[in-house]
Amino acid sequence: MKFLRDTLDKVKPNFEKGGKLYFLHSSFDAIETFMFVPNHTTKSGSHIRDGIDLKRTMFFVIIALIPALLFGIYNVGYQHYSNLVTPEAHTFIDCFLFGALKVLPIIAVSYIVGLGIEFAFCQVNGHPVNEGFLVSGMLIPLIVPADIPLWMVAVSTAFAVIIGKEVFGGTGMNILNPALTSRVFLYIAYPVEMAGDIWVSGIKEGLVDASSGATALGELGAGNEYTVSAMDSFIGLIPGSVGETSALMCLIGAAFLIVTGIGSWRIMLSTVLGALGMGLILNMIGGNPYYELPAYQHLIIGGFAFGAVFMATDPVSAAHTTMGKWIYGALIGVLTVLIRVFNPAYPEGIMFAILFMNVMAPLVDNYVVKSNIKRRLSRVKA
């Protein structure tokens, strides 16, 4: 540690103003502050500050994603082996290794492309590198199919970082959740590649049985009965994007985020309540298999759980006010179910629901703030 510090101190002057590597100062700063909390002291205001910072906050979100990530890696292998056209014996390790070979490159591409762009922007603008992309870079691999070509990961990540975030001024200023921006970009720009039987790794190469690649939402969208057992979709051993199939793993992540106080329990809870409520209303109407899908199953199929826990709660793109969070979450839940049921062409309702509510969140906040102002003014009359 001492050696590391000494080394950093030795090279630091090169990156300071006047040094020959000054143009790389943001990158140096990012690396230095990653390894060492700086020796700055408070200059104005409160002399002491809380131990939490953005690095820790973001890192805790990544910890919360690990269960979903590990399970996702396993599930990619499991789906592949269990649907092979010519069955092969496979062990837990086989599944995991197969999944890792598929998923790790996606993660690597997402981080390299995203952080590369982020660093470049910070460098040009003279900003410190913000920690936001540490989370986005992990979210993106978890919401794409395992067989996605890596160049698509790169293009969509670049799109998300540049158009979703940097044009607005970087982390903290963006309107849309960057990870979902990348996903919706894929969905709209490459509709052929992002639809149909893609959800089990190996279909394209003809290694696995194509008929097994449909997801529950796909089946329902096609007007068929829902065939996956509730337990399977809760555990997550079903076809789907890498990290979003298991509601259980999302629940573990949610528990971690709520206990540590990093994620908003209000948004998670209200999203679930919104979806349940809308699901129950549709149950009462009835008519086709989708209407009649038990409301609770909306919570465990598709990316609902993942979206509610990790996407909707992004503090930057969500509503900022306490009351606003309740409204924002509830509407995400309601809209997710509505999109799923009324527009089966878009099986994944939660993505559009969250993005739509990201756009609407400032409006929701605006009304909450207005009501506060009104309450404040009404004191005078009272």
Binding site: N39, R49, D53, R376
Partner: protein
């Protein structure tokens, strides 16, 4: 029994180095200073020159925009130096004190009415202890306050125990309250801590409204108390004053002298013997410490660690302050400290379980534990601000210099100290008090 208002939001920050309830022998310091920088928006105009002799109570300078507001010497002696900063702004007026203080004597009116109390306080310089809400500036003598609020307990980290520090001044406190009562047509509010059996000197005062508050800091902040008793709306003027300063007024009324003797709490982990010490407003703090200050690199703060000002180990006690906090500087690197904190630190975050749940009192240093970032984490400020004010939206309106929004979102109700905990908890390490100060100054200038 008085009403009890429960403050449910906030956070008590418990630090090492609370003052023992003993009073150290008075150490005579010969150097004193009055700092115009202690007053927001003040433009001082000097009334003395370096080398002149003054008595305690003689005018040193006055407010350029309202020459009725005078600032007087806390001790007698020779005006040693006028320290100027950038653009020749006056920073300090230093006085070399006599060994025996000579007091200017003021004529005390036989009966108290509004006009003679006002002019006595203005002449003696004690008016400057009356703080006006909105903005937290010196009270405007021509304004009609709807009430005067006095917080009789300090909930800030290592805060002063007024029950102890003012225990010998009960009579003076009562007399001071009498004077304040004639200044307002509204009520004088004494706000005490709920179930505090030692607060009888405050609860026994007649002719005032006593309200009890329970809960964590900022329950002791007068701004929070006003919000819960009778919030400030547009056009309202409320005055606040600290109980120590009420005692100064009482002493003036009984003796005709400006006697600014007070017990100052020396607190913090960098003191070997945290305790009270008897001294005078504006004292040079170096002499107070003697060999009490330990540690290689202490930060000496006039006031508490949330709102005080860094005065250095050779600075002067602030006009409004009666505590000096000494905590270690945090100017050292911490390897992977954001992930694996190497020592416990105060926090409200459950993500630091050891600091949050296992450790009770802390040696807190001045490291911000992270770099400043764009605002990301929502809902944090609201948890430590027990007011119906939306702090984030208010701060954004200040940054946008949107006066109407600032007014609508409650800038009249808060001053810097009210949002100090928001600054403490901020994940993005945003300088909340600095932003708010800018907004208050802007509003004060516009009004």
């Amino acid at each position: 029994m008085s009403k009890v208002i429960k403050i449910r939001k906030g956070k008590d920050i418990s630090l090492v180095g609370a003052a023992e309830k003993t009073v150290a022998a008075r150490t005579l310091s010969s150097s004193f200073a009055i700092k115009p920088t202690d007053f927001k928006t003040l433009v001082p105009k000097l009334a003395v020159k370096a080398g002149e002799e003054v008595k305690a109570g003689d005018v040193l300078f006055f407010d350029k925009t309202n020459s009725d507001i005078k600032f007087t010497a806390p001790v007698s002696g020779e005006v040693a130096e006028v320290v100027r900063g950038e653009r020749r702004a006056i920073q300090e007026i230093r006085i070399l004190a006599d060994s025996e203080i000579q007091y200017k004597s003021f004529n005390i009116p036989s009966s108290l009415d509004k006009e003679n109390v006002k002019s006595l306080l203005l002449e003696s310089g004690l008016w400057t202890y009356l703080v006006q809400r909105p903005y937290g500036v010196i009270a405007d003598p021509s304004a009609e306050p709807k009430a005067i609020h006095i917080s009789c307990f300090d909930s800030a980290p290592l805060g002063v125990d007024y029950n102890f520090s003012l225990s010998e001044d009960e009579a003076a406190f009562k007399q001071g309250i009498e004077a304040l009562r004639v200044l307002t047509t509204g009520k004088v509010h004494l706000n005490v801590r709920a179930n505090d059996s030692n607060a009888s000197m405050f609860t026994n005062v007649g002719g005032v409204e006593v309200t009890s508050f329970s809960g964590a800091h900022p329950a002791g902040l007068v701004g929070v108390q006003i919000h819960h008793i009778d919030p400030i709306n547009k056009g309202d003027v409320v005055w606040t004053i600290n109980p120590q300063h009420v005692v100064f007024i009482g002493r003036l009324l009984s003796s005709g002298k400006v006697d600014l003797t007070q017990k100052v709490a020396l607190v913090g982990s960098e003191l070997s013997n945290p305790q009270y010490i008897q001294t005078i407003v504006g004292v040079n703090v170096e002499s107070l410490f003697a060999d009490n200050l330990k540690g290689e690199n202490p930060r000496v703060i006039s006031g508490n660690v949330l709102t005080g000002s860094n005065i250095g180990s050779n600075g002067y006690l602030g006009h409004f302050d009666h505590m000096i906090s000494a905590i270690p500087e945090g100017n050292h690197y911490e390897f992977m400290g954001w992930l694996f904190p190497s020592y416990a630190r105060p926090t409200v975050s459950n993500s630091l379980p050891i600091s949050k749940f296992l450790k009770k009192t802390f040696v807190a240093n001045t490291n911000p534990h992270g770099e400043e970032r764009a605002f990301v984490m929502t809902g944090q400020y609201e948890k430590v601000l027990p007011m119906d004010v939306m702090p984030v939206q208010l701060l954004k309106s200040i940054l946008a210099e949107d006066l109407e929004a600032m007014e609508n979102l409650g800038i009249y109700e808060v001053i810097e100290e009210d949002l100090a905990l928001c600054e403490f908890v901020c994940t993005s390490k945003i300088d909340v008090q600095k932003i708010l100060k800018g907004g208050l100054e802007l509003m004060a200038l516009e009004s």
